[in-house]
Structure formats: structure tokens, C-alpha cells
Symmetry: C2
Subunit: 141 residues, 2 copies
DNA sequence: CTATTATTGATAATCATTATCAGTTTCCTA
DNA sequence: TAGGAAACTGATAATGATTATCAATAATAG
């Protein structure tokens, strides 16, 4: 939580009411993957006049200083989640039935990364998604 | 190559001039990841009047019978590539410098998948991307 | 307190993709 | 082989998410 404030200060980023509201929304929804539209509606509960342009701008800004993580889950729109510490090695499981996204921690990819780096690449990040049926949807198929 | 024709027949899929052109484009560009727009322009070299709606329709149809593979690389648009045999276990390395996408074969994910399945999930597919600097871009940074 | 600068919301613009629809082609069957 | 049902096409309009524009407002440094 501290480290978020540090990141904000480090990037001479003016903390306004709307930005605080958006940050609050993201912190209230730790672990969830919200679309810009979802953030807009939730933020309007705290600040009714907030506009969608502000939401997009703020989310992108927060992603650029690594307070948020911005990903596209093959559905044609971006989703945002709060960057936790230890967030580096986390993967997503997307349920093909209900669409829910859950996370798993793991660190098995280092072997693969070493393989790639031995070919001269410098790896910055990775992104691993599993498409699956969750226990419930599997049962109801 | 045969298996493509089989897939087409199996899905009572009418093979027209435009579809042949699009398939040709994809086969000429084996291993590349083309956007719909790129396919359109390349297909127009073979058939000048082909329309973009046809390209989208055909690409999606080919993806649905697993002749093509449709993915989104975090840039807001879909890309298509020919499904090779043994395509199942292949991952993408996206260069953050030049944007080139290369592939690697591997099979280390089965361990992870077993872990997830032991929790009751049924895994259908996965998608692993590495964001990196390729040897050349790394050198010129 | 005031000038500079960043931020905001409304709106229009953009970009990729999808839907619509009338005209055309293909295929099946009589 | 003709004729009709069904699939396919291209042009165009519509959609949905995101980005750009711009005048008005708010925050900050001096």
C-alpha cells in the first residue's frame, strides 16, 4: 500500500478526487479484473460526475507506473487489476463457461525463460493463460 | 496439407475463389501472424475485388474448424496463423523492440496443467507469451 | 494571491469488427 | 438440364471500445 503512494509521488502525478476514487475502486476489487466500463460505474458510486475519458486516462496512467496491470483476455477489451507484490509470477485461468478469471501463483516458467535467454533474448515479462472449464461449469456442461 | 482439405470437407464448407485465395495467403505466410487487414491486402493481389467482410468471415470460419489459430497479442486486434500439426504446444515470443513474433515449441506446461486439473478444472487450451527483446533489438537498445 | 500548468467532462473521431441486405453463385434434385 | 433452396459475396451501415479535442475548471509553485 505504501509502495503505491511512492509510485504516485515518484511520477509527479497529481492526486485528484477522481483519481482517488478510481484507485479506491481498484483496491476494493483486489484480485478482480475490471474493464474500463466496470471501473466507470463503480467509480460513479463514489463520484457521480466522473467521465469515461477520465477513467481511461487514469487507468492507463496507473498502468504506466505499474500500479495497475493491463491485459487483454482475447475478448477485445482491456482489463485492469491492482499490481500486488509478488505479482510477477501469476497466471490466469479463464473459465470458458462462466468467464470468471482466477489466478494461480507459480514459478515453473524460469526453466523456459532460461532456454529463451540462452538464445540471446532478454525477457521482460510473460503472460500465461489457461482456458478451461471451472469445476462448477464442468459439472453443468 | 491434406488434413486441411479434410477439415474443409468435414464441415460442408463451400470452397470458393475468395476462400482459396485467403487460404493461399495463409499458406504463403506459414509461421507469420497476420492481421485481417494484412490478409485483405495480400488476398487482393490474387483477387482484386475481394471485400473485407469476406476476409473476416472466412478467417473466423477457418479458425472455427481449426485450420487457423486466432489470437490477440495485447494490441487490440486479432492475428491469424496457420495451424501446423504439433501446433498444440507452441508459445510466442514477442519482441518489444521490433514487434516481431517468433515461436518456440515446448511441453513444460503439462506439470502446471496437472496441478490445475487436480483442483477440478478441465483444461481446454493455454496461451503463453513472452515479452522480450530479441538479440538484435537488445544490442541496439 | 495569481499565473502557470495539469486535469476534467462532453463530445466527436477513430479503429477493428460485426450485422444487414440485395444480388450472385453453387449445388441438389426432379 | 432446369429450377429452386441454400450458401456466399461485396458494399455499406452499425456497433463497441478506445482515443483525441477543447474549452472550462482545479491544483500548485512562487
Amino acid at each position: 500500500m505504501n509502495s503505491i503512494k511512492e509510485k504516485l509521488k515518484d511520477s509527479n502525478y497529481r492526486i485528484t478526487g477522481q483519481r482517488a476514487a478510481i484507485l479506491e475502486v481498484m483496491m476494493d476489487n483486489r484480485g478482480k479484473h475490471l474493464s474500463a466500463e466496470e471501473v466507470l460505474y463503480k467509480a460513479r458510486e463514489k463520484m457521480p460526475n466522473i467521465g469515461m475519458a477520465t477513467v481511461y486516462r487514469t487507468l492507463d496512467k496507473l498502468a504506466s507506473i505499474e500500479v495497475l496491470y493491463k491485459t487483454m483476455f482475447d475478448e477485445g477489451r482491456y482489463r485492469y487489476e491492482l499490481c500486488d507484490e509478488g505479482m510477477h509470477q501469476h497466471h490466469h485461468i479463464i473459465c470458458l463457461g462462466c468467464g470468471n478469471i482466477t489466478e494461480m501463483e507459480d514459478d515453473l516458467l524460469t526453466i523456459l525463460e532460461q532456454k529463451i535467454e540462452s538464445k540471446g533474448y532478454e525477457i521482460i515479462d510473460h503472460d500465461l493463460k489457461f482456458y478451461a472449464y471451472c469445476p462448477e461449469c464442468r459439472y453443468n456442461k
